[in-house]
């Protein structure tokens, strides 16, 4: 037995005082807290920056031609207004936001809407671009997806399925159909073997469109906005 081991053995025989036990645990907890707060404060801005970058990238992707965007949220009167996070607003209390895209000339390119819907495994999170003047879904990006690899994850890996959302009419409502049976502009061809995931995406689009449509229309009328190409 080495010297060190002997010392440990001898030390163990004496019962340490309660104070020492409490002090050891308290000190360990205190140090751990200090380290964690330090690392948290250091990484927080980087993490938030990453998230904002990812969202920005997705917005530009679902609204083709967009170069800048405004963030809008519903105000107290149920109207859309530009959203500026006040420094007092706490995390988790932020209102739901939508993103209003514009091109280089300041013309309206569409609205990016974020929504979540339970899929086969977990919530599917989607950001989609909505052309409020032409009443069409014009872009689609899956932000969160834990669907079955090889089946459900085709909602973003299968190009044919993603192509459904480049010019999809939203009126009267979006309808899922079997593969190869698409006849109308408001129909989405579901993925064979992943009907639940496909239907979840369609449900997500319909739900969020109903939720925001009136407010978006009111906002467009109020500000007399229209896309130049599709002037009515």
């Amino acid at each position: 037995m080495s010297k060190e081991e002997k010392m440990i053995e001898e030390g163990a025989e004496k019962e340490p005082s309660s104070f020492r036990l409490i002090f050891t645990l308290g000190f360990a907890g205190f140090m751990s807290g200090l380290i964690l707060v330090g690392v948290f404060l250091f990484t927080k801005p980087i993490i938030e920056n990453n998230k904002a970058e990812a969202l920005k990238k997705a917005i530009f992707k679902v609204l083709p031609g967009t170069t800048t965007f405004k963030t809008l949220a519903l105000d107290n009167n149920g109207k859309l207004a530009e959203y500026n996070p006040s420094p007092e607003s706490k995390k988790g209390e932020e209102p739901e936001r939508i993103f209003f895209g514009m091109n280089d000339n300041g013309e309206f390119t569409g609205v990016a809407i974020h929504g979540g819907e339970p899929g086969f495994q977990d919530i599917i999170g989607v950001l989609f671009g909505y052309d409020a003047v032409g009443k069409m879904v014009i872009g689609y990006e899956v932000l969160q997806c834990k669907e079955t690899p090889g089946l459900g994850d085709k909602i973003f890996k299968d190009e044919a399925f993603v192509m459904n959302f480049t010019q999809l009419a939203v009126e009267p409502e979006i309808v899922p159909v079997k593969k190869g049976e698409k006849q109308n502009p408001n129909e989405v061809e579901a993925i064979t073997g992943a009907t639940i995931s496909s239907k979840a995406v369609v449900r997500l689009l319909n739900k969020n469109l109903t939720k925001w449509k009136t407010a978006i229309e009111a906002y467009l009328n109020e500000n007399q906005i229209s896309t130049p190409a599709k002037d009515e």
Partner: protein
């Protein structure tokens, strides 16, 4: 001097082969099955675990005479949990894609028996140098196991290795290999292989003796 050197080598190598945490000791099964659907995920998980195991071993070995025996497990858990949370934040900040892929399993490194096991069995009884060697060996063994399972599952289930396509478009991937059952199949076959190797070595040795 040479015995010291050979002890260092032995402590390191035992983690890789003779006492491999996954293939022999069957520790850390949860990440070994859950995040090994690709080689890169296995590697990332292995490296995250390495960081936690090595750092915790250093601290536990350093404090082995200060921490009273009665509260040692609790203190080890606090130490391990601190390092796990640190690596969780760091990965989220600097490798967000990997962090998204590994998800909840990073936080679950805390309950990986391999880590607490090494603190109790080794770091709390040995000096810092030896504890680092032991932790490094065990981590290397763990990472090796996770990457092996990951490679098998990714090659068969996705037709690629470290995200590099192997077979072209004509290959029909065995989807089941990247689904949960594939984890059990791969681990089962690797365990079979490991046991067969060990058995064969034993027989060889007994023949020569």
């Amino acid at each position: 001097m040479s015995t010291e050197k050979s002890r260092v080598a032995a402590e390191f190598i035992k983690g890789l082969w003779k006492e491999n945490p996954v293939f022999v000791a069957l520790l850390g099964m949860c990440p070994a099955l859950a995040v090994t659907n690709s080689a890169i995920n296995g590697l990332a998980m292995g490296l995250a675990t390495t960081f936690v195991l090595v750092c915790s071993s250093i601290l536990v070995s350093l404090l082995r005479k200060v921490i009273p025996k009665q509260v040692r497990i609790t203190t080890y858990i606090v130490i391990i949990a601190t390092f796990v949370t640190v690596i969780d934040f760091v990965l989220e900040a600097f490798l967000p894609d990997i962090h998204k892929e590994l998800g909840a399993f990073i936080a679950l490194i805390v309950v990986n028996c391999l880590i607490l096991g090494r603190q109790e069995a080794f770091a709390s009884k040995n000096n810092i140098g030896m504890s680092i060697i032991d932790a490094a060996g065990m981590s290397a063994g763990f990472t090796f196991a996770l990457v092996s399972i990951g490679i098998i599952r990714e090659v068969l289930g996705n037709g690629s290795i470290f995200a590099v396509d192997l077979f072209g478009k004509s290959f029909e991937p065995w989807i089941i290999m990247i689904l949960p059952p594939g984890g059990f199949f791969s681990l089962g076959f690797l365990l079979l292989f490991f046991n067969w190797m060990t058995e064969r070595n034993k027989q060889k040795r007994s023949k020569t003796a």
